[in-house]
């Protein structure tokens, strides 16, 4: 079965593009021949039922699957036209350019300040304390967390509430000035108010970074994204404008999923 790609998509620059990507865990094929272009100026949402492979595919975009010994990726994934698996592109550089926010907030057990400063320090992005302070403040401001934490930067990041922790993780990702931010169900561990704040934040970051978000919630995909890809059983079934996917899907399976027939 071939992926249905809507024909009315504008010709935009693809920040990342995947061609015939398959991901294996041992002998099991988790992702089967997915090809997709991820635009620079939009938020792209991956939706689909549990176990459909959307997170697996997301993780292959910054080679986080490398950390799983049995995982293997086939096909090509390009970042600005450069193969991310080519030996000339260091995985460290790749991950600095393609940041990631996880399902469960995972701040380091360090101070709020150290959490943000971690990336700039290891990549040598800031020279001296003043510059580092500036990066920390800028990142926290962009993540909408500055006003809440500016007086307690030395407190542990793990002492924040769940929603604040997740915004801290987003700020941490922003601090190394990435081009793409991958978000793997960033709100699934949060309450509705914290979720609304994160969604608001995604809206604000939209345009500055290419954002890819994996989500369980179709409403969330509809609210925050402009492009949606529907995954099912390891295949990408349909890809198009979010409004089209939700109001006018071409594939029957997409139709069934968004109307709640399964999922």
């Amino acid at each position: 079965m071939v992926t249905v790609v809507h024909e009315n998509l504008e010709n935009t620059d693809a920040k990342m593009s995947a061609r015939d990507v398959s991901v294996f865990y041992g002998d099991k094929k988790a992702i089967d021949n997915v090809s997709i272009d991820i635009p620079t100026e939009y938020v792209t949402a991956f939706i689909g039922p549990s176990g459909c492979g959307k997170s697996t595919f997301l993780r292959s975009l910054n080679r986080m699957n490398d950390t799983i010994p049995s995982a293997r990726v086939e096909g090509t994934i390009m970042l600005d036209g450069e193969d991310i698996h080519s030996p000339s592109l260091d995985v460290v550089q790749l991950r600095a350019r393609v940041g990631m926010v996880f399902q469960k907030p995972n701040p380091f057990p360090k101070s709020i300040y150290e959490n943000i400063a971690y990336g700039p320090k290891i990549h040598g992005l800031a020279e001296g304390k003043d510059e580092l302070d500036a990066v920390v403040e800028k990142s926290l401001r962009r993540a909408g967390l500055w006003e809440e934490v500016k007086d307690r930067l030395q407190d542990s990041g793990t002492a924040l509430s769940g929603g604040q922790q997740q915004r801290l993780c987003i700020a941490r990702a922003i601090a190394v000035d990435p081009e793409v931010i991958l978000m793997d169900e960033p709100c699934s561990a949060l309450d509705p108010i914290a979720t609304a704040k994160i969604e608001e934040l995604i809206d604000e970051l939209n345009g500055r970074y290419a954002i890819v978000i994996v989500t369980h919630s179709m409403q969330q995909a509809a609210r925050v994204s402009q492009r949606t890809a529907f995954f099912h059983l390891g295949k990408m079934v349909e890809y198009g404008r979010t409004s089209d996917i939700f109001t006018n899907p071409i594939e029957q399976r997409t139709q069934d999923y968004i109307t709640g027939r399964y999922g």
């Binding site: 950390t67 991950r95 995972n106 380091f108 290891i122 542990s156 793990t158």
Partner: protein, 461 residues
């Protein structure tokens, strides 16, 4: 014999109480309109059983402690006691002989006077046995009846049982604490006796160690009791040389095993490493004395150090370091592996290398476990005796040269206690003072380590 009977009696009564209480609870349950009790019948049963068994056990323990005294007392009040010699030691020997015959532990007596006491002993023992058994029964009966009468349909037996169990658990943990306390107290008394003969200042700051167990105990030569060379030897071998070997090797192998090794390598290397911890220290001692020490001496001679001895602090320290690698590595391994995968992923996703992730995220988060492992290793190294005896000699020597002979506190404790001196000779008592200092030092080390961990740990929960 009588103790076994008492214990069996207690358990039997407990079982009877258990069954009776359960039956009673069931009748409540049948009688109650909705078939419910405040607690399940089993809890009623355990409540009564515990109420029977625990007081009895406490009584048996106390009885075991006081009964022999009561027996002796009653024997001494018998008419034959007037013939006993006044001298304590002789008196005790006669009584012991009589008791041994009375209980069947010995066949005959050497001292004819002891024969006079066999019968009073036999009589007293059997009398107090009966008193013990009857008191046991009485206690079991009274507390059994008391607890049984408290059973009612709305009686909260479960809460009571949980409270009793909690008290038992508390008592279990107190045993360890009280043992430590007991060790401490017994050390303190002997140490004070020793310091009555040799001043603490001479002991703690003197630099010559060579107690003579044959010297006149009333007028010890304080200049021979300077323990500084021993403290230095312990520190140098156990805490410096051994740790220089064990900490880096242990940590690095833990990091390799948790972060780099593939599962098949790990499955082999980790158990192999832990075998090291199971090798008896005597075997390490052989290896150190027969292989490592001569090799070190030959090497020293080959680079021009002519006075190298065949026993050296270096040999003992190196082997000790190898011996405690598993303590460092397996605690570090466990605590690094316990850091959530999310931390690792978070760091790697920032573009950190594995190396940076280990240094900046995993090790700080795993610090408490790592430090605990190192503390355990240091305690082991400081307490280690066999390797030092075999590879570093028993001669005290204050020197910073690792090729010299040296000895440690524990080695001297063994030497003093197994020496020919009488028990109240200062040379023998010095062993307790050494043990006391060792105890304080390890206690202090643990305390400091706890504070350090509290200050620097990065809690990921």
């Amino acid at each position: 014999m009588s103790l076994t009977i008492l214990l069996l009696l207690a358990l039997g009564l407990g079982l009877a109480g258990w069954l009776a209480a359960r039956a009673r609870a069931w009748t409540f349950r049948r009688a109650s309109p909705d078939g419910r009790l405040a607690s399940l019948p089993t809890y009623h049963a355990w409540y009564v059983a515990l109420w029977i068994v625990l007081p009895v056990l406490i009584f048996i323990a106390a009885w075991g402690a006081i009964a022999p005294g009561l027996v002796t007392q009653s024997v001494l009040s018998s008419p034959a006691a007037d013939q006993l010699p006044a001298f304590g030691f002789q008196r005790q020997t006669i009584l012991n002989e009589a008791r041994a015959v009375a209980t069947g532990a010995a066949q005959g007596v050497f001292n004819p006077l002891a024969r006079e006491f066999v019968e009073p002993y036999r009589e007293a023992i059997s009398r107090y046995n009966w008193i013990g058994i009857i008191t046991t029964l009485l206690i079991a009966f009274l507390s059994g009846v008391y607890s049984f009468l408290r059973l009612k349909p709305d009686f909260a037996a479960r809460n009571r049982v949980e409270k009793i169990v909690m008290a038992i658990l508390l008592a279990a943990s107190l045993v360890a604490i009280l043992t430590t306390l007991g060790i401490f107290v017994s050390l303190v008394f002997e140490t004070i006796r020793f310091f009555g003969m040799v001043s603490p200042i001479d002991f703690l700051f003197g630099t010559h160690w060579g107690p003579d167990p044959m010297a006149n105990p009333d007028n010890p030569d304080a200049s021979r009791y300077g323990a500084v060379p021993l403290f230095w030897g312990t520190l140098f071998i156990g805490a410096i040389i051994a740790m220089i070997v064990a900490i880096p090797l242990g940590l690095m192998s833990a990091v390799y095993l948790t972060q780099y090794a593939n599962p098949r390598v790990r499955a082999w290397v980790k158990p192999a490493l832990e075998i090291l911890a199971g090798v008896p220290t005597v075997v390490y001692g052989y290896f150190a004395a027969l292989t490592i020490a001569p090799a070190i001496r030959d090497f020293a001679i080959s680079i021009g150090i002519s006075n190298a001895s065949s026993e050296s602090a270096l040999a003992a320290g190196l082997i000790m370091g190898v011996m405690i690698i598993p303590f460092v590595s397996s605690m570090a391994d466990d605590s690094i592996a316990a850091v959530p995968q999310a931390m690792r992923d978070g760091s790697l996703a920032m573009g950190a290398t594995t190396n940076e992730t280990i240094r900046r995220v995993l090790i700080p988060a795993a610090l408490p476990g790592i430090v605990a492992g190192i503390m355990l290793a240091i305690s082991r190294a400081i307490g280690e005796t066999m390797i030092v005896v075999m590879a570093a000699s028993t001669a005290a020597n204050l020197s910073a040269n690792p090729l010299d002979r040296m000895t440690t506190v524990t080695v001297q404790i063994v030497k003093m206690l197994t020496g020919e001196g009488s028990f109240d000779h200062p040379a023998t008592l010095s062993a307790f003072a050494l043990g006391f200092v060792l105890f304080l030092v390890t206690l202090g080390l643990n305390f400091i380590a706890l504070r350090v961990v509290k200050r620097f740990r990065e809690a990921y929960e």
